[in-house]
Amino acid sequence: MGSLSLRDVVKSFGDVKVIHEVNFDIPDGSFTVFVGPSGCGKSTLLRMICGLEGVTSGDIAIDGTRVNDVAAARRGLAMVFQSYALYPHMTVYENMAFGLENIATPKAEIARRVAEAARMLKLEPYLQRKPTALSGGQRQRVAIGRAIVREPRIFLFDEPLSNLDAELRVGMRAELIDLHRRLKTTMIYVTHDQVEAMTMADTIVVLRAGRVEQVGPPLELYNRPANVFVAGFIGSPRMNLLEGRVHRSDAGGIVVELPGHGVFATAAQGGRQRPGDKVMLGIRPEHIRLEGDLNPLAGVVAGVEQLGGLSYVRLADPAVTVQLPGQTRLDFGTGVRLHLPPESIHLFDAEGLALRRTGDAA
């Protein structure tokens, strides 16, 4: 068991409120990722869940029991720190055994659990080494192993892959997903990297400035971002966001005028939008077409990035990035005519909230 729920959780340091009335539930067995730019409060939230930081107001409950006043060690959680926080003077074995020794676990049981974790994490050859004699990836695995042997209800990961190089990071990502599949224990994972969030999570919690922006499965966030922030944060390369005004609003959807670039039909519904209202038009680079006849947009190529398998074409005015499959013969200075499919256009109101589109689930 390992479900978690947060109710109106607030954290203040003195007068500064760093977490604002956070609410969400994490079901048992899920892999939840907290994602957001640095300083968004995601690590603070994690440390509050694990008990290293107190809660100013609101409730944190694990398996339905309020744990606000329960000491970190007694919450049945295990944490993998960003710096790993391995005890540098102890061997890998001692690092993993330390927590069990503290609660007077029988020696044989400690040995069994450490051996089991070491086997699972392929650490067997290194058990007698000190952390300094290990590579980054191995240290990472020891930190995970130290969490596993405790058999926690929930694993907490605080940006655990940020100290690894790119190649190792991809490998460890896969290993963690695999680990979750085998252990089936709830995992909460903090990262600032939306790619990590997209590839690992079954639920993503997007945070900004101490507030939850959106909670949902990765593709839900990708396909139906609730606001401009999530739209811009999730997805790589970023969604194109262009400022415009409502041209007219009718039964087919809102028509937007981008100053100097004409009008664009969208599938967005907006009962309260009046002509002239400020809106933000968003469209993902891969949804823009070179052929077609709807919503044409003319521009001049300002730069091309050829990745081989796909290409990115940048336009300066309007500032738009287009993702094209395969390789392209477009070059700097070429005039192009783009088409923005109406069903792929996201529209956000003046407050940045997404306007519902026809076809979106309620």
Binding site: L52, A72, A73, R74, L77, F81, Q82, S83, Y87
Partner: protein, 346 residues
């Protein structure tokens, strides 16, 4: 002089400043280490060897010869006169005359003026200066007092100071900064100033003439707290959080995580503490008045008055006092100099 600063290493050209620098250092070495070497050499001389003027560099001792019927005689070489070159044993001195015999012809007494003969000497280290120390005086007692005080005070210093440094570096509690400042302030209170009242306190607590009278006041050192605190501040807080998540009690975090990781700073403090306690003089002199509770420096000080004529034992005892510190220094030279340079305290 400033040229030394700009000299680029490894150019391989020596100019006069380099020669002057090395000359200065070699001269300095003679002044700094020469006296200690001279003490060491002198301590191996016999009592009579020490009285020779001018003194010899190495420990020589007058040879003697066993002459049948005459006993053991001191051996002299004749430098002038009809017996020049012969080696004779001296029977007795009478005024400016000396009566000697040839060991091969013990029946003929030869009379010579004192300046006509010179002692026959041979190189011999008088190790008995050292071996007799243990028999003649309560030397082992002094040595043990010094070792006991140094060892126990150092262990307690490490324990008490590191506990306090742990709290001052890793806990937040109201009054923490005040406590730290208060401890630092004691740096400014030299022990000489509280000599009289400390004696009263030691007497009240029954600590006079006991090694604990030297140990207890020495256990809390502002230097140690400061040194350890600064080091512990560099240990990541995540380690402590990880240990808390690992169900470790605060005491266990202190001694299983923080203490081992502070080993470098503890080593520096241990070296300081050993040096302080082994060499301490004024406070032990005040608090230890009975000779059986004396430490080595006190014993040395007492004997230099009483044993004014017995320099051979005094010198040997001095050497024994400096040897342990010297050995520690020889082994840990780098740590000591770096530790002191970084701490800037003594």
């Amino acid at each position: 002089m400033g040229r030394f600063l700009t000299a680029t290493r490894g150019l391989g050209r020596w100019d006069w400043t380099d020669w002057a620098a090395h000359l200065y250092l070699i001269l300095g070495m003679l002044v700094m280490f020469g006296p200690v070497a001279w003490l060491g050499l002198s301590s191996l001389k016999s009592e009579s060897g020490l009285q020779a003027f001018p003194p010899t560099l190495l420990p020589y001792e007058q040879s003697s010869v066993v002459v049948p019927g005459r006993g053991t005689l001191k051996l002299f070489r004749v430098v002038s006169g009809e017996h020049a070159g012969q080696e004779l044993g001296e029977l007795r001195r009478m005024g400016l005359q000396s009566q000697l015999v040839d060991p091969k012809a013990p029946d003929t007494i030869i009379r010579l003026k004192l300046e006509e003969r010179e002692p026959v000497t041979r190189l011999r280290a008088a190790w008995e200066n050292y071996s007799e120390l243990f028999g003649k005086f309560n030397f082992f007692g002094y040595f043990w007092n010094s070792v006991f005080i140094t060892a126990v005070a150092t262990i307690l210093t490490l324990l008490v100071n590191s506990m306090s440094a742990f709290a001052l570096s890793k806990y937040r509690f109201s009054g923490r900064d005040a406590v730290f400042l208060l401890m630092l302030a004691t740096l400014m209170i030299p022990p000489t100033i509280v000599l009289v009242p400390n004696y009263l306190i030691a007497a009240t607590l029954g600590l006079t003439n006991s090694p604990w009278g030297v140990i207890w006041p020495a256990v809390a050192t502002p230097t140690g707290v400061f040194l350890l605190r600064q080091y512990m501040l560099t240990l990541p807080d995540e380690l402590i959080e990880a240990a808390r998540m690992d169900n470790a009690s605060e005491w266990r975090i202190y001694w299983r995580i923080i203490l081992p990781l502070s080993a470098p700073a503890l080593a520096v403090l241990a070296i300081f503490s050993v040096m302080w306690r082994w060499n301490e003089f004024l406070w032990p002199m005040v608090v230890l008045s009975r000779s059986e509770s004396f430490t080595l420096p006190l014993a040395l000080n007492a004997f230099q008055g009483e044993l004014a004529t017995q320099w051979n034992f005094l010198l040997a005892m001095t050497v024994v006092t400096l040897v342990p510190i010297t050995l520690i220094f020889a082994v840990l030279q780098k740590h000591i100099t770096q530790g002191i340079a970084s701490a800037g305290v003594k």
